[in-house]
Symmetry: C2
Subunit: 87 residues, 2 copies
Amino acid sequence: MFVIIVYDMNVERVAKMCQYLRRYLDWVQNSVFEGELTDSQFKRIKHDIKELMHEDEDSVRFYTFRTKEQVKIETMGILKEDIGCII
Amino acid sequence: MFVIIVYDMNVERVAKMCQYLRRYLDWVQNSVFEGELTDSQFKRIKHDIKELMHEDEDSVRFYTFRTKEQVKIETMGILKEDIGCII
């Protein structure tokens, strides 16, 4: 499946979340990752994020679709370089 | 079509971008909007964003789907209230 993950987290946890997601997905913008995942990877990621986040403070949104062909992606402006997980 | 827009902009333009997108879409998270648009609305939004952004500094990413049924949306943590366009 193709997955987009966007998150809005307390600054204390942003870097950790970013570092974690880089293991599985491509960083495309500040607090936005995307990429292909298997069902089991996606399940695991949701489990790990649950541990990492504070559910009463943070917000994570997952968009999933069967294949990348279902979504058209366009960008305007600079292509963010992967500068790492700097806050 | 169903559209997700994520942006990474200079702080000077963030509030303006947010205010602009609220006219057409639902604010779902910091720098993330989504909703249904007609083709002509989408064209207009891209045109307006081009005017509003600085293409050498900012980055805007558009994900479009034919219908909302193609995408599955899940959230974890708090549902961000629409607090307006505060930076």
